[in-house]
């Protein structure tokens, strides 16, 4: 029962807020990840009510998305080196509803663990047939699908002998400003998890598992590519009694 539902005021603006998940996202200050020390805000965050600007948001990119944008192996003269993989899943909200027609953008290192970026000085080979960027729109069922190659692990300067587990960066709009999410997808069984402060910045062990894709033989295409499944859950709306007729 909601206490103060005033059905008599016709012009009353009903704005349904989104859920505020506690304890899922990493604390901004995670000293083991050194770059957070000078970048994590120190003041307490101010609670922002979910008003019109927050319950609306971008869903699409500025340019039309083509099928080729979701296939990172076919954008150059030849095929990239590496293990060809299919990465697919659904974007859902926490009420289990699919999030359709929303932009998913990814970027990743090549099979040798090298990014096609001038700042990356890891002495591993660049691949002229791989730039590592892809995007697609979810379908009416919230489904996305990429064809790419499995990224390599790579070293970074956080501490002596620090290595990032293999991962694909994901950016999602969802359907509202509140749902915006940038995250990383990891691969099952990676021995580098225990030493990675970024993966372990997520405090809850179960939540960390939700960043790891599942190998799926049913998605795997014979003689061609390994299949990984990864569903992404964005926050849903707050539980309110809704009068919809």
């Amino acid at each position: 029962m909601t206490a103060d539902q005033d059905e008599t005021v016709g012009a009353r603006l009903e704005i349904t807020a989104y859920q505020r998940p506690a304890g899922v996202h990493p604390p901004l200050l995670t000293p083991e990840y050194r770059s957070t020390q000078l970048r994590a805000p120190k003041q307490k965050l101010v609670r922002l009510p979910h008003l019109l600007t927050e319950v609306t948001g971008p869903t699409a990119g500025s340019q039309p998305v083509t099928a080729l944008d979701a296939d990172l192996t076919r954008r150059h003269a030849g095929e990239p080196l590496g293990e060809r993989i299919i990465v697919t899943g659904r974007v859902l909200d926490s009420d289990g509803r699919p999030v359709p027609d929303t932009l998913v953008e990814i970027w990743q290192a090549n099979a040798a663990g090298r990014y096609a970026h001038q700042v990356d000085d890891h002495p591993a080979p660049l691949d002229p047939n791989f730039d590592g960027a892809g995007r697609c729109m979810t379908d009416s069922d919230g489904r996305y699908r990429f064809i790419t190659i499995k990224p390599g692990a790579y070293p970074w300067g956080n501490h002596l002998n620090a290595w990032r587990p293999a991962h694909i960066h994901f950016s999602l709009f969802g359907q509202a400003f509140t749902q915006r999410l940038v995250t990383q997808m990891y691969f099952p069984g990676d021995p580098l998890f225990p030493q990675d402060p970024i993966f372990n910045s997520v405090p809850d062990a179960k939540a960390r598992q939700r960043m790891i894709a599942t190998f799926d033989l049913d998605l795997t295409e014979p003689e061609w590519a390994l299949g990984y499944r990864w569903d992404i859950v964005l926050r849903g709306r707050e539980q309110t009694v809704f009068e919809e007729r």
């Binding site: 009353r12 603006l13 859920q19 505020r20 899922v24 996202h25 990493p26 901004l28 995670t30 990840y33 770059s35 957070t36 020390q37 000078l38 970048r39 994590a40 805000p41 003041q43 965050l45 101010v46 609670r47 922002l48 979910h50 008003l51 019109l52 600007t53 319950v55 609306t56 948001g57 971008p58 869903t59 990119g61 500025s62 340019q63 859902l92 909200d93 926490s94 970027w107 990014y115 096609a116 970026h117 700042v119 990356d120 960027a133 960066h169 950016s171 400003f177 509140t178 915006r180 999410l181 940038v182 995250t183 990383q184 970024i198 910045s201 939700r210 960043m211 859950v233 964005l234 849903g236």
Partner: protein, 193 residues
Amino acid sequence: MRLPITPSQTIGPFLAIGLPWPDGPFVVPEGTPGAITISGRVIDGADQPLSDALVETWQADPDGRFNHAGDPRGAAEPRTPGFRAFGRCATDADGRYRIVTVRPGSLPTADGSLEAPHIDVSVFARGLLDRVVTRIYFADEVAANAADPVLASIADPARRATLIAGPQPCGRAGEFRFDIRLQGAKETVFFDV
């Protein structure tokens, strides 16, 4: 039974591979009548610029409407041709970003108060494990800002001032300055959304 959500992770240093759009900073096309620019720097706790940050903006159109089904008043086609409501700009080597847009309108709230014209901002960067969110208000909207419920929720006027874009020093009309300070004495107000 609710599904547990997927955690956030940092955007990392290589976001430029996947995220910048050629027309990202243009919420409206260049040359749009009444267009304004908002620019500034993203700065860390050692007063150093972030050369690897991404600034995104989201706002109402000049009539205070959204072309989006999430608005309970209904989606409204903007009267400004090419208005996208969304802007995205990666910072340069000096930590600078720049967005070209039009001024948003005021917005109604559920309790009858009016939100002053504002722009929601997300900042992503290496070293930020989740985005940080702030808001841009306009210095010349004195009366509207005084009545804004979100600004009113920040007691300290010095903190509130970090959300106000003023005229760009030595700039022309319509050029606004908004710096984003992640730490330090003038740390920007960031919101829990």
